[in-house]
């Protein structure tokens, strides 16, 4: 049973105006519980528009979205309920912090879901522990935190609702390398702790190679590729034709192949590259 099913989804902005444009056209895919899906595509390819449909922020112009086999727009008045199942972390989520304390900000979502008292407190504290926000921060104003900390608190606010599907729109944009690694760790930890389904929009092919089980490749509002990560990255020419590329380590292996050296074509991470080169050298010695 798929946890998420998107069927023939299209979204048009500014219908009946001169600014009419198709942001997403006829997109279909399914996601299983616990999968990590990456969405790649250059700016303006429709990625953000697509994910904003997944928790009902945008309503499809055409097509349906099913969460746990239930059409989320069947009862439009209850669309808010879907947000406790599907959490969406926007780009630069730290700009959306608004409460007086870190605690209140993280508690906002679960409180709206009806959690109160000790249960609410426990939920907030558990979430803080998961993402590494120290207890002493809870009574601080979120505006006194550093950029990276603010982002973690904003993500905690979504994670505190314990969504079974959590969607991130470029979660590491604008952060330094350490900050990026912290966020990736939090995402992995949440997924492991709650067997959550994770959908992540990213510009980093290197990050996606390590993290994603499957990739959805978007171009001009359409899904042009949807496959296991290794199968997508095996099609470098096709990715380049839509302004994307394969991870740098893959490009090094492509360059080796062009020199007439026989190397495997499934190398997308540094770890795999080291392993492959060791094997080749060992094979040489045995030959």
């Amino acid at each position: 049973m798929s946890v998420l099913k998107v069927q023939n989804l299209s979204h048009t902005y500014g219908g009946n105006t001169p600014f009419y444009s198709d942001a997403v056209s006829n997109v279909s895919f399914t996601v299983e519980q616990g999968e990590m899906i990456g969405i790649i595509g250059h700016t303006g390819s429709g990625k953000s528009t697509l994910v904003q449909h997944l928790n009902g922020i945008l309503k499809p112009t055409e097509g349906e979205i099913f969460i746990d086999e239930e059409n989320i727009w069947e009862r439009p008045k209850e669309i808010r309920k879907i947000r406790s199942k599907v959490g969406l972390v926007f780009q630069y989520p730290e700009y959306q912090l608004f409460e007086e304390t870190v605690f209140a900000d993280i508690a906002f979502g679960p409180k709206n879901m009806g959690l109160m008292g000790d249960e609410l407190k426990k939920r907030v504290l558990d979430t803080c522990r998961l993402i590494g926000v120290k207890d002493e921060y809870l009574e601080k104003s979120p505006f006194d935190l550093s950029g990276g900390e603010k982002r973690r608190v904003a993500i905690a606010g979504v994670m505190a609702m314990r969504p079974k599907i959590i969607v991130f729109d470029e979660p590491t944009a604008g952060l330094d390398p350490k900050g990026r690694q912290d966020i990736i760790k939090i995402i992995n930890d949440y997924r492991t702790a709650y067997n959550a389904t994770v959908i992540i929009i990213s510009h980093s092919m290197e990050d996606m190679a390590v993290m994603a089980d499957k990739l959805i490749v978007m171009s001009k509002g359409e899904v042009v590729m949807l496959d296991k990560t290794e199968k997508v990255f095996a099609q470098g020419d096709r990715l380049r034709s839509i302004g994307l590329n394969v991870p740098i380590v893959t490009r090094v292996f492509d360059a080796l192949r062009q020199k007439g050296i026989s190397v495997p074509d499934d190398v997308f991470t540094v770890e795999r590259a080291v392993e492959a080169l060791k094997q080749i050298k060992a094979g040489d010695r045995n030959a």
Binding site: S146, K178, I248, V249, V270, K281
Partner: protein, 280 residues
């Protein structure tokens, strides 16, 4: 080559909640005319504070910064310093002021009180040099992030600064936008502009003349890109990352495969690996 900027024993302290912090700690650096310098460092390492001192936006708590012979502390020449050193920041949306591209680029020269014909000439040349001439009549908010950032750079160039300081100009851009900006910066430098680029993306430093690594308000490394990138463990220890090519060569060495670590490009890396595979 003469120095366009001289940073002499500069310290910058700031006070927050009645506690004094040191953002830049007794730093000295000379920026040579026409050079391309990259300052690397994680958030909070002091690199932005230092950048803002180079065009007088921040004044040193101790020490001196001299721009083309003028001390930035001298209030009478403050505007002159800002004219000599142009700054470009992270978020392109915060730097654009007009609703038409060419008007935005003209904003600076207009404020300099130049003749209309001269403004026209400078705007056209500036847009040309960042590869945005064909967009002169466009609306900035319809452009991509990389294009907007190039307009911001053009706005600075139109003021004819001696030196351009860019503080994480690519942090909010996608890979295509980042490539556009780096190409633009390298092009401007080749035409003679002194460039100081502040970033935490190592690969953007590849073609720099000089790379400095900043941590806790101090420079902890100074050298050519190849010299700096060789030191993977040092870079990682201060929360920085290395290009995946460097990472691969580093990991190969860690695994007993001896390959040179002072190469950067994909081609050079492939050559290094090919040489290793051919060894018997």
């Amino acid at each position: 080559m003469s120095n366009i900027i001289e940073i002499k024993n500069v310290t910058y302290n700031y006070i927050e909640d009645e506690v004094e912090y040191t953002a830049v700690d007794n730093v000295s650096l000379d920026i040579k005319r026409g050079s391309f310098t990259v300052i690397l460092g994680h958030n909070g390492s002091g690199k932005s504070t230092l950048a803002k001192m180079m065009n007088g936006l921040n004044k040193p708590t101790a020490g001196d910064i001299v721009v083309d012979g003028i001390n930035t502390k001298d209030e009478e020449t403050e505007l002159l310093v800002k004219r000599k050193v142009g700054m470009v920041f992270q978020n392109p949306d915060n730097q654009l002021v007009a609703s038409i591209v060419e008007e935005d680029v003209a904003f600076g020269p207009e404020n300099l009180g130049l003749e209309p014909q001269l403004i026209r000439k400078r705007v056209d040349e500036a847009l040309e040099s960042v590869g945005m001439a064909e967009f002169k009549d466009s609306t900035p908010h319809h452009l991509s992030g990389g294009q907007k950032q190039r307009i911001a750079i053009a706005g600075m160039i139109a003021m004819r600064p001696e030196c351009l300081i860019l503080d994480e100009p690519t942090a909010m851009l996608d890979p295509k936008g980042r490539a556009e900006i780096i190409t633009t910066i390298e092009h401007l430098n080749k035409q003679g502009m002194t460039v100081v680029l502040i970033t935490h993306y190592m690969e953007e430093a590849q073609n720099a003349d000089r790379v400095l690594v900043m941590n806790d308000g101090k420079f902890i490394a100074d050298g050519t890109p190849k010299e700096i990138f060789k030191n993977v463990s040092m870079l990682k220890s201060v929360g920085l990352d290395v290009p995946q090519t460097t990472e691969l060569l580093y990991e190969l060495n860690q695994n007993g495969i001896s390959v040179p670590t002072d190469v950067l490009s994909i081609e050079e890396t492939a050559n290094a690996i090919a040489a290793f595979l051919e060894e018997k």
